[in-house]
Subunit: 244 residues, 2 copies
Amino acid sequence: MKKIIVGFAKPLGCHNCRMKKFCLPLGLDAGDLDKLEELIERKKPLQPREGVFFSGDPFTSIYAVRSGSIKSFCIDSDGREQVTGFYFPGEIFGWDGLADEQYQNTAIALETTSICEIPYEQLDELGNSIPSIQKHMMKLISREINTEQRLIALLAGNSAQQKLASLLLSISDRLVKQKLSSTRLWLPMSRGEISNYLGLTVETVSRVLGHFQRKKYLAVNKKEIEILDKQGLRDLLLSPEEVE
Amino acid sequence: MKKIIVGFAKPLGCHNCRMKKFCLPLGLDAGDLDKLEELIERKKPLQPREGVFFSGDPFTSIYAVRSGSIKSFCIDSDGREQVTGFYFPGEIFGWDGLADEQYQNTAIALETTSICEIPYEQLDELGNSIPSIQKHMMKLISREINTEQRLIALLAGNSAQQKLASLLLSISDRLVKQKLSSTRLWLPMSRGEISNYLGLTVETVSRVLGHFQRKKYLAVNKKEIEILDKQGLRDLLLSPEEVE
DNA sequence: AAATCCAACTGATGTAAATCAACTCAAGGT
DNA sequence: ACCTTGAGTTGATTTACATCAGTTGGATTT
């Protein structure tokens, strides 16, 4: 029996949270932050593969990642799983459930992951008395739209190499927000999850990573990636490359 | 000189609007609807290709389609245009500008199109006094997320045939909300716009439409489409077809 | 009515990525 | 220590779609 004890005796509040500036409380004064903090439930850490909510569950809350990572996916008409997003510390997920009052996606932890649960009903009430919270919520949802539109553009008009380069650069950018290096990254998701997200096959992902490695863009060791030539990857996203 | 005079002397208010149940006022009583109506500006009809807003413009308003149709698109890193959505009567567009206070997309009319402009600042203020408006706004944005996730799934994991079948069925469903037939439809966008939206080429769209016609799923006459076998199209979206 | 233009269609060919098929390797279980 | 399992990689082959190259036909111009 394996037992992972994670320090939980002294849960950090929003005031001290390392991720706070990327999360909900933007632009709140200390008093309002207190009120917000009251309703946020810091859940005990999720085990790898543990679910947060499932497609069809009634919508109750949105969630913020404190540490670890989350993938969200839906099952489409023909029963295949489609990954719709990866979420890292400081990012919010769960908005997809609001429109129809039930989650469209399933969200699971990719690794040992801590999240904050923010009950939507109460958040909404708080928003009625603190307009800046309401406003911030709207912006957060809108930002999710922007993120998804970028993914749509990536899926619709790019090669396998461009898709992977783009994902790696995006993950790199998002990890900088934590203490972490922007060049040495750990991919919490499998090759299969990457390929599904990007509309490719595992074989193609594997080959492109191999290609990037030969080109000295990356050093790859299983899920550990070191970005050796970030500009090289960025250049791939520009006009049709004539690099041999 | 061509001059199209469209009746505009007596602009319909929300109360009489044929599209109202799909639009903003959901769940409002008559009094609240009046307040909302005051701030909505019914603009004079747009000519085909006329722009509503452009990428980079400061975010001021969201828009509802009254009649006609809108396409929204962005220009990605390498300068290519990427169509991100088509909007039909009763649908709202412009939310993408909220997060960064400027529109990420450009929105143009595909045909002669009437829209309502809803200034966001004022809508937000109204939302502060009428919580149901606030709530409804959030749901509208969230619905946009759902729509885009469906597009992501379509782009990531489907064949050209499936993509087109899915788009045609979606347009058909949305036109039913107007007076219009669900089987005889007029596509306001060009083949190029369709192909761009679906991550295909014009040639492929043309060939798939030809194929659908030979299969008696459709009768195609330029932009006029008659759906002859809706179930046949739906079946394409299910498991891998072994139909010859 | 001839000339021009452009969106849409069609055919021939090329190619990026999917598919099919081993093979490797690390992790767990007995 | 051996067997199993599954993720990841690599190679050979196929294929769906892109690309290239006309052709068609309706609308607009002259």
